[in-house]
């Protein structure tokens, strides 16, 4: 796949070195191009790219609040339609907190109403903008500032909310998972999502150097380990048809993924075994 050279998220924004979210947005905008309006939830992405009077966005951008990017996008999409500008892509971005927790209602409503928009959840598995608090997308065993590991705790005691399947249950034409560590797979999905008539949802896994606790040079490597271990899987549900889009040749032990990050460093063998069981069961279900 040829990667377009165009850059629509300008360099010099305030993202951390090794920020996975900005990679996710850059790649998506390469596919979507200039004829696009972006909507963002409150969160890392919005704060790091739009400090007044500056902006890193080379396309029209709007932010209103934390939980309503899908609702704002609904209004944008219909206003474009009313002006005969149906050719403009509408893409909404929300972090995992803004998507699977506080923004779930607005997103569900927008998907049910069938707006022609692409929603991309950039999932870094916790509330990173406020300083690494547990979200519904935080995985089992991860230590966050509100689910800290301690003498009586091994971190988050619940498993990650299965957001892509919740979106699929809306019967929308296109749902996919992706990872910034597999840009070609991700960009193909963004292209499909943009071309589909109606709502599309992409759940993008993106390691966070600050929140997960690893060296900024390791973002992509850790993203790959998540997929190679089966802790994160790449698939799409295109008009109801489920398809795995990437299969690891030979899965690596999930411990090889967990051990790269400070958030899992406290885990005992018993919990690591538990996570391996979760991963195996999930992969079996998906046929990976």
């Amino acid at each position: 796949m040829e990667v377009p050279e165009i850059e629509l998220l300008a360099p010099g924004h305030r993202g951390c070195a090794g920020c996975g979210a900005s990679i996710g947005v850059r790649l998506a905008l390469k596919v979507l191009g200039k004829n696009t309006v972006a909507i963002s939830a409150t969160g890392c992405l919005e704060v790091m790219t739009t400090p007044f009077p500056e902006s890193a966005w080379e396309i029209p951008f709007i932010h209103v609040a934390f939980e309503n990017s899908a609702a704002v996008a609904s209004g944008v999409e219909r206003a474009l339609k009313a002006q005969g500008k149906e050719d403009v892509n509408v893409v909404a971005f929300g972090g995992d907190g803004g998507t699977v927790d506080i923004g779930l209602q607005a997103l569900s409503g927008a998907m049910e109403r069938g707006h022609n928009m692409l929603y991309i959840c950039y999932d870094n598995e916790a509330y990173m903008n406020t300083g690494i608090q547990r979200s519904g997308a935080t995985p089992y065993g991860a230590s966050t500032t509100t689910s800290p590991a301690g003498n009586q705790s091994f971190g988050k005691t619940e498993t990650k909310k299965n957001m892509p399947l919740i979106m699929a249950a809306h019967g929308i034409p296109y749902v996919a998972t992706a990872s910034i560590a597999y840009p070609e797979d991700y960009m193909k999905k963004v292209k499909k999502a943009a071309e589909v008539d109606g709502p599309a949802y992409i759940h993008l896994h993106q390691p966070c150097t600050t929140g997960w606790g690893f060296d900024p040079s390791q973002t992509i490597d850790i993203g790959r380990k998540a997929v190679e271990s089966g802790a994160w899987s790449l698939y799409e549900i295109d008009h109801g048809e489920f398809k795995v889009t990437y299969r690891p040749q030979k899965k690596i032990p999930v411990e090889d993924y967990l051990s790269t990050q400070k958030r899992f460093r406290h885990l005992k063998q018993e919990q690591i075994d538990q996570i391996q069981q979760y991963v195996d069961a999930n992969c079996e279900e998906l046929g990976i």
Partner: protein, 382 residues
């Protein structure tokens, strides 16, 4: 021009049809619902060419309305009470982002206890949001004000959202004769919306809703204050222009027999109709009573009120709301800037009738005042 008997909700919907908004995101709530229903029917019948979005909450209603407005089209939404409370966060954002949204608020009490009937607490709870708030007295004024609201909001010196406040049930569900302007006259008065400041367009990309640190935040908030100040003249000018075109002129306030009045009753909304009738009765008995009706609650017309009450000895202020700990909002706003002996009467909460007898009691208590803030018609046993 045609004349029709209709509720204020229908007259608001009629005005919206005439104003031709392009996007209408709404969520049902009593007593606003018939505005949304009427607009849905207009769209279904092809009488209004608009994108009608059936959102899943009022929070999303205001979010989608703001998103559409910032994409450069005229918009409308309506709500009430709990719906406005749920919108609260985005109500502030709409003013902060300087979106010329027009919203009808069918004024209703706030829970708890749950109550669907009229008072002004919902609108009062949003008074500091940066929205222009205009309270109307009847169905005709509801129609006229909705049309004027677009012209005020979209004025480039203003660029603020406008909330048209109409009393739940008392206005929203009561029929009155209403003059409906002709479409061509409305088109002349209110030409199609042309966004001047900012809007989402790939041809000229810009970022809206940025975050602002302490270096900029204060100045951006101060710009809202300036716009609110400028809006006073715009409201007055638009009211005059409307009067010239349609024969009904509106100002920031309305005065009724205040020139020589000793006691002036001050209030907002539909109750002012009853008060005018009581004023007439008392005038017949030789009492010098008048009414000052506040139409524009935000911006608050201090100068106009000061001028109108300068010869009076006392003010009797009727508040259909309460700011717990300090009395009614209207009372406190007036006391803050108008140097006049004033008494507050909190009444009509949660839809309790304010009868002519209530008004007479308020006048009597004002003549022989005991305390500043008074709850009227309180039952001892209930």
């Amino acid at each position: 021009m045609t004349k029709k008997v209709m509720t204020s909700n229908e007259s608001v919907a009629t005005a919206v049809r005439l104003a031709k908004p392009k996007v209408i995101p709404v969520y049902p709530i009593t007593p606003q619902t018939t505005i949304s229903e009427t607009l849905a029917q207009y769209v279904a019948d092809g009488d209004l060419d608009a994108e009608y979005i059936r959102v899943e909450s009022e929070h999303s209603a205001m979010s989608a309305t703001l998103g559409a407005s910032e994409t450069g089209v005229r918009v409308f939404t309506a709500t009430s009470s709990q719906g406005l409370m749920l919108m609260h966060e985005v109500v502030y954002a709409a003013a902060g982002m300087r979106a010329p949204i027009v919203m009808a608020d069918a004024n209703r009490a706030i829970s708890a206890p749950l109550n669907i009937w009229n008072d002004h607490q919902d609108a009062i709870a949003e008074r500091d949001s940066g929205w222009i708030q205009i309270f109307v007295e009847n169905a005709q004024e509801a129609l006229d004000t909705t049309l004027m609201a677009y012209k005020i909001a979209e004025n480039k010196e203003v660029s603020l959202p406008v909330m048209v406040c109409l009393d739940g049930f008392i206005l929203t569900h009561t029929v009155e004769p209403v003059e409906i302007p002709e479409q061509e006259d409305v088109d002349e008065f209110l030409p199609p919306y042309e966004p001047v400041h900012q809007f989402l367009d790939p041809e000229r990309p810009m970022s809206l809703g940025n975050f602002a640190d302490p270096v900029f935040y204060t100045e951006l908030r101060h710009e809202i204050q300036d716009a609110m100040d400028r809006s006073k003249d715009v409201i007055t000018e638009v009211g005059k222009e409307y009067g010239e075109k349609f024969g009904r002129e509106y100002g920031l306030i309305e005065t009724y027999k205040t020139d020589d009045a000793d006691i002036i009753i001050v209030s907002m909304g539909s109750i002012c109709g009853t008060i005018k009738s009581v004023v007439d009765d008392l005038r017949d008995k030789g009492e010098k009573i008048g009414l000052l009706r506040v139409r524009s609650y935000r911006p608050f017309p201090y100068e106009e009120i000061e001028e109108a009450v300068k010869n009076a000895s006392k003010l009797a202020i009727i508040d259909k709301n309460v700011c717990f700990g300090v009395g009614g909002a209207l009372f406190n706003d007036i006391k803050a800037r108008v140097n006049k002996e004033a008494y507050d009467f909190i009444t009509g909460l949660g839809g309790r009738d304010i009868t002519p007898e209530t008004i007479l009691e308020i006048v009597e208590q004002t003549k022989n005042p005991v305390k500043d803030v008074n709850w009227i018609d309180l039952k001892e046993d209930y």
